[in-house]
């Protein structure tokens, strides 16, 4: 299995494996002010209606630079795996607060009270109809979902899997971010996206491999225990490794999160372009 693309966005910057930029025309630096035009040149009229979590996830996937599907074409052999620590918490609070008001809860917010709606937004935009998984299980969520995405491709259930690790917490940060060591300011808004696929599928779609990825079940091959307090550090290491901004390591190993109860390691080996 290989990784053929990566994408990233946080409260101020965004990028792919090729480059990293700051949001365009952004004055306030507030994540809730993110506009599609600040990060992408294509059209996406629906963007403003998405919740914060979905907006960040969709932008990260856009950085994978998947070719727009032709009309009436869907991708049943592509899966989606999303991991999120806080999920729909921000929308849940907003919806319940609206519910107490005279107008009741907002219908537009309601679908986003399910964190798996992120998958729906990605699937609609890219016409993906394969299997999907959403993991919201505490700080291990994003890495657990990454393991699931590799397993989906490894098992042959899908030819490719879009993986997204994300969070969208801003207005409710005071309720769920007591430890601000991993945040900028008062927010935790970010998304990492990776495209994991088998080599045949990559060749079929003319995508260049960035790295090989596999699950090593040998407990003796485990990476040293990461000092990361949550998945974000692991994802950040993976993104920087794939974007080649960390050129020091030839092989990257990520330890399986405790949630998965396995002694395996994810082994990523960069493929040097010829």
């Amino acid at each position: 299995m290989i990784v053929t693309a990566c994408g990233y966005i946080d409260e101020t910057s965004f990028g792919s494996n090729r480059s990293l930029s700051t949001w365009r025309n952004s004055d306030s630096g507030r994540p809730d002010q993110l506009r599609w035009r600040m990060v992408c040149d294509s059209v996406f009229d629906r963007f403003g209606r998405l919740d914060l979590l979905s907006r960040f996830a969709v932008v990260a996937v856009e950085m994978l630079r998947l070719r727009p599907p032709p009309p009436n074409v869907t991708f049943p052999d592509m899966g989606i795996s999303v991991g999120t620590q806080f999920g729909s918490f921000e929308v849940d609070v907003g919806f319940m607060q609206g519910k107490k008001g005279p107008g009741g809860g907002s219908p537009i917010l309601f679908p986003y009270t399910l964190p798996s709606t992120v998958i729906g937004e990605i699937a609609i935009r890219h016409r993906i109809t394969g299997p999907s998984v959403c993991v919201q299980a505490g700080t291990d969520s994003a890495l657990a979902a990454l393991w699931q995405s590799v397993r989906l491709v490894e098992s042959g259930e899908v030819a490719a899997c879009i993986y997204v690790g994300c969070d969208g917490i801003f207005a409710t940060s005071h309720l769920c971010l007591p430890d601000k060591s991993h945040t900028q300011g008062n927010a935790s808004c970010f998304a990492y996206a990776f495209l994991i696929e088998n080599e045949n599928n990559a060749r079929k779609h003319s995508r260049t491999p960035l790295a090989q990825i596999s699950i090593d079940n040998n407990p003796n091959s485990r990476a040293e225990k990461s000092s990361a307090q949550d998945s974000r550090e692991g994802l950040d290491r993976l993104y920087k490794y794939l974007a080649a901004s960390d050129a020091s390591s030839k092989v990257l190993k990520l330890t399986a999160p405790a949630t998965l109860r396995t002694a395996s390691a994810l082994v990523i080996r960069r493929i040097e372009s010829s």
Binding site: R35, W36, R37, D45, F47, G48, R49, P102, G103, G104, S106, P107, I108, F110, P111
Partner: protein
């Protein structure tokens, strides 16, 4: 009526958070759902809430709603007729 149409355009943009759409881009005669503005069923619910909050009009009949929500023009007519009935 023209003023109401322009006001409705702004309210639709605000209620549905249509970030990159300006009032002059909305054709008041174009269909709101499917084609035209491309709104969906969730947007329809949000517009029902907007009608109640801003104009005090409660939509209870599905067929009436379908005709009223066809375009910005039909929505403006619906509001005008119902406000006249109420006064």
């Amino acid at each position: 009526m023209h003023e109401l149409v322009e006001q409705l355009k702004k309210q639709i943009i605000e209620a549905l958070n249509l970030q990159d759409i300006t009032p002059d881009r909305i054709d008041p005669a174009a269909t709101l759902f499917g084609e035209g503005l491309g709104l969906d069923s969730i947007d329809a619910l949000e517009l029902v809430v907007m009608l109640e909050e801003h104009y005090g009009i409660r939509v209870t009949d599905l067929e009436v709603a379908r005709k009223a929500f066809n375009s910005v023009n039909t929505l403006a007519e619906f509001i005008t007729n119902n406000q006249q009935k109420g006064s």
